[in-house]
């Protein structure tokens, strides 16, 4: 028999009664009003006195939560079915003394009320209450400013429960406000956070230092930093980090959300902002406090010349931050993903003293994040998190959590079909990887879905394939070898050769085999009627590619996309400007601070030890932090010479027109899906198709098949050799010997 938990009747509220059927009461040996401990799932429990239900019905339970464990008050149980074994009759001896802390509604009451009076009131309120060590007594039904009492300790050698009588000595150890009490409770449910330990430690230090060593700081005459600005792309866990640190330190958190502060009437927003600071100040009187301004860029945009209402809000924030006294011991944390749109006045020491840049996670960090996320999932031990971390370049924390969720969903779907053991295996993660893409690539320029092409699907060109594999695949697959030999991966590869010789297909195969992000742009993406827009788009493309590095950036037909300075065009044309952007991005002085991967090393007073044992993943990072540019052209002579020097497009690979052997391979591949007659001699065709490119050969096969259909009136089942020969006679090669001659000399 199970008991259904119902909500408590209005008349029983605050009476510490729990209503159950009389049958169950006698089964448990309970008499009217005898104390019983109700244990609920999740380690929560509640102490109450047993009374029969007024309708004497069995099978139901109503519990008044007058004395319950702390997390029960914030999350009252609903829709639960309990086992009668979860009710334990508990004899309660009368207590000699009890230590409590009192939770009052407002700080005002705490300030103005004599401790003696509070003691008197609380003692009256607690009389006749059964208490449990570490439980919270709910006194809301008395309707006074005193809301809760936390039983810190009871004066009893053994056991955790007792009855408070008029003779019990009540000792108040502390008085706190409800807000503070709630924030204290929050840290009990821990927030999973991986890979941000360093930043978390430095934030924690900023919060705790002034509390732990106030004298040291005052003798040094330094003021502790009071503002931290967290900068990073969306989804790296800025908000979560703040919540986590606040929870760990046990500080109270005052959150400011942009829309909540901004009001419609003039002056309203400023007033609300002042109220928020006042709230933080009063919270800081009771303990460490963090004022968290999320999405700071929306709250404090760069002040413009006109008298926009935001200007006043920004000014108010600036003055409030300046007006903080040394005695206001609260920390202001701001979070933004667009630090450039913040007002510059905010970013000076004294306001936001520290700026912590949290970049997209490195693979080590991703592994940490994944292991934190997977800790609560039934993940099969065969799942290799290191490999998964390598496959998820460019994924931020939010993406990874979406990935894990999606993998779990796959597992559930599979399990619902056939009942198996509930475990998430690598296969589910692979399925999820197809669905969840890194959010930094979402709705951005150049994002390309490509159908996978394997190296085997390209006939011939073995030498070229090997070269491409060397420069693209090897650094990713064997980074330790590259590190050992002091090699670094090439910045760029140029494929040139006559048209139709599988340059684009080669790139697709490279992207498929290397499993990294692939961006491809054409003129349509870059060119814009506005001056400067194209350059910005190209720079942004690189920015975004770096965010999800390792990444292949493919510039097809680069000769038309990017001009050359020597070819007599006007010096200021769009193409030359694009060229300068490209040259800079490929081998410029450095990166913008915002694009940093991972987090910088932060010096700490606590002396966090450095982690030297990152091993292979570190190598991976060293080799793959850059974007690889692959360019393709059939007019290498039109390219600017600065682009072709080593350090930019290091490897210049000639994709030659297919020779006889290659043509045979291509023909074999093309006719693989076709029912060719036995008399078809591909060798003969290969010999006869001198100067034919791969595309031509594919076309030839198509023509032959069409001809077969035409001749045999839709009934053709095989393609005869004659059809090949007849279609060959109608065609002419797209390449000329002279054209090929021009490619023979290297462009550099």
């Amino acid at each position: 028999m199970s008991l259904r938990l119902l909500s408590v009747d209005a008349c029983d509220r605050g009476s510490q009664r729990c209503r159950l059927g009389p049958g169950l009461m006698s089964a448990l040996g309970l008499s009217l009003g005898s104390p019983v401990l109700v244990s609920l799932p999740g380690g929560r429990s509640c102490l109450c006195t047993a009374w029969p239900r007024s309708d004497l019905a069995e099978g139901f339970l109503q519990v008044d939560l007058k004395c319950s464990s702390a997390n029960l008050i914030s999350h009252p149980p609903t829709h639960l079915n309990l086992d009668p074994a979860q009710l334990t009759p508990t004899p309660c001896p009368k207590l000699k003394g009890v230590k409590i802390s009192v939770v009052v509604q407002s700080a005002d009451f705490k300030k103005h009320t004599a401790p003696r009076l509070i003691h008197e009131l609380v003692k009256d309120m607690l009389r006749g209450v059964y208490v449990h060590r570490k439980h919270v007594i709910n006194l809301e039904d008395f309707d006074t400013e005193i809301r809760y009492v936390v039983i810190e300790d009871i004066n009893l050698e053994s056991g955790h429960v007792g009855l408070i009588t008029s003779k019990t000595a009540v000792e108040i150890t502390g008085i706190q406000t409800v807000r503070h009490h709630r924030s204290q409770l929050q840290d009990q449910d821990t927030i999973p956070l991986g890979g941000l330990e360093e930043v978390a430690a430095s934030l924690k230090e900023m919060l705790q230092l002034p509390l732990l060593y106030p004298d040291t700081l005052s003798t040094l005459g330094v003021s502790c930093p009071r503002g931290v600005l967290l900068v990073g792309p969306p989804g790296v866990g800025k908000t979560l980090l703040v919540r986590k640190v606040v929870g760990e330190v046990g500080a109270s958190l005052v959150v400011v959300r942009g829309p909540e502060v901004v009001g419609s009437r003039p002056g309203e927003s400023e007033e609300k902002l002042r109220a928020v600071f006042e709230r933080a100040r009063s919270a800081a009187e009771e303990g460490p406090c963090v004022l968290f301004l999320d999405e700071l860029d929306s709250l404090c945009p760069r002040r413009s010349g006109s008298s926009a209402p935001e200007n006043r809000l920004v000014a108010q924030l600036l003055t409030l931050m300046d007006g903080m006294n040394q005695s206001d011991r609260f920390l202001i944390a701001g979070a933004t993903n667009r630090p450039d749109s913040l007002d510059p006045a905010l970013r000076r020491p004294g306001r936001f003293d520290r700026e912590v840049i949290i970049g997209a996670p490195t693979s080590q960090q991703r592994k940490d994040i994944l292991s934190v996320l997977c800790a609560s999932m039934p993940v099969c031990p065969s799942v290799d998190l290191t490999e998964l971390a390598q496959r998820t370049t460019g994924y931020v924390g939010a993406d990874l959590s979406a990935l894990c969720r999606e993998a779990a969903m796959h597992a559930i779907r599979e399990n619902s079909k056939g009942a198996e053991e509930q475990a998430v295996v690598m296969k589910h993660f692979q399925e999820a990887l197809k669905l969840v893409r890194p959010s930094c690539l979402r709705s951005r320029l150049g994002r390309t879905e490509l159908s996978p092409v394997s190296w085997e699907q390209i006939g011939g060109l073995d030498e070229v394939k090997l070269k491409i594999q060397q420069s693209v695949e090897w650094p990713m697959k064997h980074p330790e070898a590259f590190v050992r030999l002091g090699l670094c991966r090439p910045r760029g590869v140029l494929l040139y050769g006559p048209p139709g010789c599988a340059k684009t297909t080669l790139v697709r195969a490279a992207a498929t085999s290397s499993h990294c992000a692939f961006l491809s742009v054409s003129g349509a993406d870059l060119y814009s009627p506005y001056v400067g827009d194209s350059e910005k788009a190209l720079a942004q493309l690189f920015h975004q590619a770096r965010a999800c590095a390792p990444c292949i950036l493919f510039l097809d037909e680069i000769d038309t996309l990017i001009g050359s300075r020597s070819s007599g065009q006007s010096a200021n044309s769009v193409q030359t400007r694009l060229l300068s952007v490209l040259l800079n991005e490929m081998d410029g002085v450095g990166l913008k601070t915002l694009e940093r991967r991972g987090t910088e090393k932060i010096l700490q007073a606590e002396g966090a030890e450095e982690n030297h044992t990152q091993g292979q993943l570190d190598c991976q990072e060293v080799c793959n932090k850059d974007v690889m540019v692959i360019a393709a052209t059939n007019r290498p002579d039109c390219l600017d010479s600065a682009l072709l020097r080593p350090g930019r497009l290091d490897h210049i690979i000639y994709v030659p027109p297919p020779d006889r052997q290659a043509r045979l391979c291509i023909l074999k591949l093309c006719t693989e899906s076709m029912p060719v007659d036995a008399d078809v001699c591909l060798e003969e065709l290969a010999t006869k198709t001198e100067l034919y490119s791969g595309a031509d050969l594919e076309n030839l096969c198509k023509e032959a098949a069409l001809l077969a259909l035409q001749e045999e009136n839709m009934k053709a089942s095989t393609i005869k050799h004659t059809y090949f020969l007849r279609s060959l006679s109608k065609m002419s090669p797209s390449l000329t010997a002279k054209q090929i001659q021009t490619y023979q000399k290297r462009p550099r």
């Binding site: 006698s26 008499s31 009217l32 029969p52 007024s54 009131l121 009389r127 400013e145």
Partner: protein, 284 residues
């Protein structure tokens, strides 16, 4: 189940309901005495406010030396007097609360002493006209809780008044009034009355001389029938459903009973005066 245990518990209950009735009378009379005092407290606060708002130097009264201070002193003194009077009243409220608490804990103690001999079936047994022992114990507890709550709230209100916080002084009478909870008081009245009736019902000697030695409740007793008919006549609904909660039915008809209090009293008189059950409606 032993009869002596049941008897002693019934006796204790009867006694405590009697004293609860007295307590309730004292309580409401003390509260009634308090409200003019609270009004005068608010009045004094208003005067203080007026005094602090006025600029005496701009009025013809400026010739009197130190008038403002003197007036303020007088007002403070008056406030003190009123407050001390209220404190007196509070102490009588406290004594009501304490006596109720003692009564209730005494009854509970009687029950606890006899827990072994009173099984749950006995204490939860109820009929259409008799609430179970459990119900009665619960009512007593609720009543005690009500007094404690009321006293604490009023005490908190008085103790948090400060002479320098005029607005809280001014609003004090209003807040004092808002603390009244007529529904709870009505509940207590009903409980007291119901119990009074029940104990008549349980005392067959009054009604049926032939069963003088039996003190246990017999459902077929004429007075029960009378009571039943009375209720049926007053309330056309049949509330004698099996296991229908006594409290529920009382609450259902509570308002009517309160309205018909006079009638109720008549009924009581009829009980005591007639030794035979009467089927006539009592209003005749």
């Amino acid at each position: 189940m032993s009869k002596p245990a049941l008897l002693s518990l019934q006796q204790a209950l009867r006694k405590s309901f009697h004293s609860l009735e007295n307590s309730q009378n004292v309580w409401s009379s003390v509260l009634a005495e308090c409200s003019p005092l609270m009004d005068s407290l608010g009045n004094l606060a208003e005067q203080s406010r007026a005094l602090s708002n006025v600029q005496l130097s701009n009025t013809p009264l400026r010739d009197f030396p130190d008038l403002q201070e003197r007036l303020r002193f007088k007002l403070l003194q008056a406030t003190d007097t009123v407050l001390s009077k209220i404190t007196e009243k509070m102490s009588s409220l406290q004594s009501v609360r304490d006596s109720t608490s003692n009564q209730v804990s005494a009854v509970l103690q009687v029950y606890e002493q006899n827990t072994d001999s009173l099984d749950l079936l006995t204490v939860t047994e109820r009929s259409a006209i008799t609430p179970s022992l459990c119900d009665m114990l619960q009512w007593l507890q609720d009543a005690e809780c009500h007094y404690r709550q009321q006293f604490l709230r009023r005490k908190t209100l008085l103790q948090t008044l400060r002479a320098d916080d005029l607005s809280s002084l001014e609003s004090a009478p209003k807040r004092w009034k808002s603390l009244e909870s007529p529904s709870a008081e009505d509940c207590i009245t009903v409980w007291v009355n119901v119990n009074y009736e029940i104990h008549f019902a349980k005392c067959p000697s009054l009604l049926n001389p032939s069963e003088e030695n039996g003190s246990e409740l017999k459902p077929e007793q004429p007075v029960n029938r009378f009571f039943d008919v009375y209720l049926r006549w007053t309330f056309p609904v049949d509330f004698r459903k099996k296991n229908c909660s006594w409290v529920e039915s009382v609450c259902m008809y509570q308002t009517l009973i309160i309205q018909d209090k006079e009638e109720f009293k008549t009924l009581r008189i009829m009980h005591s005066s007639t030794k035979k059950a009467q089927l006539e409606p009592c209003h005749t």
